[in-house]
């Protein structure tokens, strides 16, 4: 029997369609069908200036907009050879780690609801709301923040930000304990996740899987440690791994990552000084401050040129990869020396990880397909772009 799962199925987390060939309740063959959310972002990038593209990147992986901003800005900065001030780098780290926590919370909540645990969803979204409030104070937006800009960040941290994040850091560890009390030893949770959706480490590497899925297979591969960016080498944190490589292992890795991210947020808060630049000084590339623009002729000219013509990086290309909540998020930009990118490609972690779905679910029961899709943690905006 051939069963069409999705594209409107709630547990496909968006609009994924999977064609399942079944023998009784066992999946014999699975063929994913994507593209329902394809918006041609990569083509649009080629017709925008470098700074205009930032708002598009927000809309790819909508649970990780700050990470998308960051990878794009790092790629443009590498193309230009720009150095970002330390203070801005720490603010970036602070923001993407909060984003990682919020993304993992959405994952945990929705995955729990897929498995039938309604209340965890409500608790996770309660805490996520606190993070979104922090983003709103920092960037003026809850989700599509566009906060990280080329050469730094958009705005100074708002008044009272230390107290706000401090309150969150104080509250969060006990909340994570609450989730674990509800789930980690829960018999239904164990029955649904243990020994479900296994994949061997060699297979996972060969299939280019990354992120918590790869780490749950036993390899401590994390771009923040292996190829540090944005001063991650100065932070002290662990890379949680498991060896069971099943859905339960992926759950445990993500919960442990929430705790590690809290540690990084705390360190980043201590490193961010009250005074200092949030943007690098590069006339013609970074928009001048408003004050200068009103008083200096040169600054006004630069401002006009940046927002009409844009800036032109030297011909060449750059590929930068960061660790998003879902795995390796890469951005490749090729420049031909004009103010618009010749090519802008995003290596979406959900897209590459989803590739292994048939391998993971073939031979499993139909009910386990939902657990497997859930623990790969796909975001369809990221898959289809």
């Amino acid at each position: 029997m051939v069963l069409n799962m999705g594209p409107q199925h709630p547990s496909t987390h968006g609009v994924l369609r999977v064609l399942l060939e079944l023998d009784g309740e066992t999946v014999v063959k699975a063929v994913p069908d994507l593209g329902y959310l394809h918006t041609g972002i990569e083509k649009s990038c080629e017709h925008k200036t470098y700074s205009q593209t930032i708002t598009l990147t927000d809309r790819m992986d909508y649970l990780n907009p700050l990470g998308n901003n960051l990878v794009y800005c790092l790629a443009v900065e590498q193309l230009l050879g720009l150095e970002v001030p330390k203070r801005a780098q720490y603010i970036r780290v602070l923001m993407v780690e909060l984003q990682r926590i919020s993304s993992h919370l959405v994952w945990l909540g929705t995955h729990a609801i897929d498995m039938g645990a309604m209340s965890v969803f409500l608790y996770c979204f309660r805490e996520r709301e606190e993070i979104l409030k922090i983003f709103e104070r920092f960037a003026g937006q809850r989700m599509m923040t566009s906060y990280i800009r080329i050469g730094g960040v958009a705005l100074e941290p708002p008044a009272g930000w230390r107290e706000m994040i401090g309150r969150f850091l104080k509250m969060m560890p006990s909340r994570v304990d609450d989730y674990e009390t509800l789930l980690t030893q829960n018999r239904i949770w164990l029955a649904r996740l243990k020994n479900v959706g296994k994949i061997e480490l060699e297979d996972a590497i060969a299939r280019s899987m990354s992120g918590p899925t790869l780490r749950a297979a036993g390899l401590a591969y994390d771009n923040r440690k292996v190829f540090p960016y944005s001063s991650y080498e100065e932070f002290d944190f662990n890379v949680p791994t498991r060896t069971d490589s099943d859905c339960y292992g992926r759950y445990m890795v993500r919960v442990a990552e929430i705790r590690e991210s809290l540690k990084i947020v705390e360190q980043a808060m201590a490193k961010i000084t009250d005074q200092g630049p949030i943007r690098t000084d590069a006339p013609g590339i970074i928009p001048p401050e408003r004050e200068k623009m009103k008083t200096e002729m040169e600054a006004l000219i630069y401002h006009f040129k940046i927002f009409t013509e844009g800036f032109s990086p030297p011909p060449g290309d750059a590929y930068v990869a960061i660790e998003s909540p879902r795995g390796e998020l890469g951005c490749y930009i090729a420049s031909d020396g004009s103010p618009k990118p010749l090519r802008c490609h995003f290596r979406a972690p959900s897209f590459v990880n989803l590739q292994a779905l048939p391998r993971i679910i073939e031979g499993q029961l139909l009910a386990d397909v939902i657990a497997c899709i859930g623990t790969i943690d796909i975001v369809l905006g990221d898959v289809d772009r």
Binding site: L34, G35, H38, G40, E42, K43, S44, E46, H47, L74, E77, Q78, L79, G81, L82, E83, V84, I205, A206, R207, S208, M209, L219, Y221, V226, F227, P228, Y229, S230, G316, D317, A318, Y319, V320, A321, E328, G330, Y332, A334, D336, L342, R343, H345, R347, F351, V352, L354, Q355, D384, R385
Partner: protein
Amino acid sequence: MSESGGKNAGVVAEQLRAWNANAVSEVIEFHGETTIVVPRELLRITAEYCRAHLQFNFLSDATSVDRFPVEPRFELNYHLVSIPNRTKIRLRTRVSGAEPVVDSVVPVWPGAGWLEREIFDLMGIRFNGHPDLRRILLPDDWEGYPLRKDYPTEGYRDIPATFLPGFKKQ
């Protein structure tokens, strides 16, 4: 800014030259990244050598660039990572517009499967030996390859009447 190349990246080109003098036609260093340009015919065996002997066990990304109207217009970029050596390199091969065909690297890294399908779908480069070369993001009956430079950003379909030549505002 991240030091993405790693200190071993430059050595890789030498090792490849020592293995097969024809395999490396050009080495480009740009802002800390190493690009090794490989002739089109040698792409798969070079990739296989990188994986088997130089420990590039992880294919990070595969993507393409269209430099129309320059010939050969297409560029394929494979971003490789050696997890044991912590090294990154980029393998590049150039493909002409008249015959956009290249050997698939799926037999080397199965992870290339969907990435190459995406390139086929959006850029129209075909891969020999790919097990499942179908469109992936666009519908099966889509005409043309949108990421090519000679494909308009607005597409060919569903153009609002106001953009059509000869349209008069009422």
